[in-house]
Symmetry: C2
Subunit: 139 residues, 2 copies
C-alpha cells in the first residue's frame, strides 16, 4: 500500500480526537502531535469527514470532532475512506504485448489486487478504534 503514511496518520488523528470528545481540535494542534503540517491534516480530515468519521467546523473554536463512538470506527473502513492507497504497484512501463503472459498479466494482477484489498479490509474491520485506544493505554 505504498510507503504512504496516510493510514497511520488517520488512525493517530482519530485516536487523539477520541481522547478529546469535548473540544474541537484544530489542524495546527493535531499537526503538532502527529509531527506534520496542518495542511496535511486538513486534507486527511476531508477524507475522514466525507466518510462520516469526523465533523469539521470553521471559525474560532472550530476544528475536528469525532462523530462516531470509537467502538463503531473500524480500521478497514478507515483505510477504504482514504484516497490514493494501493496495495502493490503494477508495471511502471507497459510489458511486452507480444509476450503471451505480458499481454494479459496486468488484467490478472488487477483481479489479484482487488481480492487482496478486500481481504485486507475485512481483516482490518476486526479492529476498532476502541481497540487501538486500549492498546495505547497498556503501555
Amino acid at each position: 500500500m505504498s510507503q504512504n503514511c496516510r493510514f497511520a496518520f488517520a488512525v493517530h488523528v482519530l485516536a487523539v480526537l477520541a481522547k478529546r470528545p469535548d473540544e474541537a481540535c484544530s489542524s495546527p494542534w493535531l499537526a503538532q502531535t502527529v509531527n506534520t503540517n496542518p495542511v496535511v491534516i486538513r486534507r486527511l480530515l476531508l477524507d475522514l469527514a466525507h466518510a462520516g468519521f469526523v465533523r469539521t467546523e470553521r471559525g474560532p473554536h472550530g476544528g475536528a470532532r469525532l462523530r462516531l463512538s470509537p467502538e463503531r470506527i473500524l480500521l478497514g473502513n478507515v483505510l477504504s475512506s482514504l484516497e490514493g492507497t494501493t496495495l502493490f504497484g503494477m508495471h511502471p512501463r507497459r510489458p511486452l504485448s507480444s509476450c503471451p503472459v505480458g499481454c494479459r498479466i496486468e488484467t490478472v494482477l488487477d483481479e489479484v489486487h482487488d481480492r487482496a484489498r478486500k481481504a485486507l479490509e475485512k481483516e482490518l474491520n476486526q479492529i476498532t478504534l476502541a481497540d487501538v485506544l486500549d492498546r495505547c493505554q497498556k503501555a
Copy 2:
C-alpha cells in the same frame, strides 16, 4: 505495500518461466518481456531462488528455471519471499512523545501491520501460479 512493483514483476517472471519449462531464460531476455533492466530481474531472481521457486545457472545457456510446478507456487508465499515490501507506511517523522497517543501509536500500528500482512498472505495463498496462467489463457 508500496508503489513497489516487485510483486508484479515476480508473478510475471514466474509465469513466463512456467511457459518455458525446457529452457533456461536469461535475465536480458526476461527483462525485455517485463520491460525493465536485466539487473532488476537478477535482483528479483535472487529473492525467488532463495525461497526455492527458481534455480539460476551461470555461463552460456544459463539463466533461470522454475523449480516447482505452477500448482505448488502460492502467491502469498511469493509475496513474503520478496524483501522491502510493506503494506502501509508509518510516520515519516517521529510523533510527539508527550502525546499519550503519539508515544504508543507506532507500536500499535506495527501490530496492526503484522496482522494485516498475515491476512493478506493467507488470502493470496489461495491463488496459485497455475491459476494465473489459466487467467492469462482466457483472453
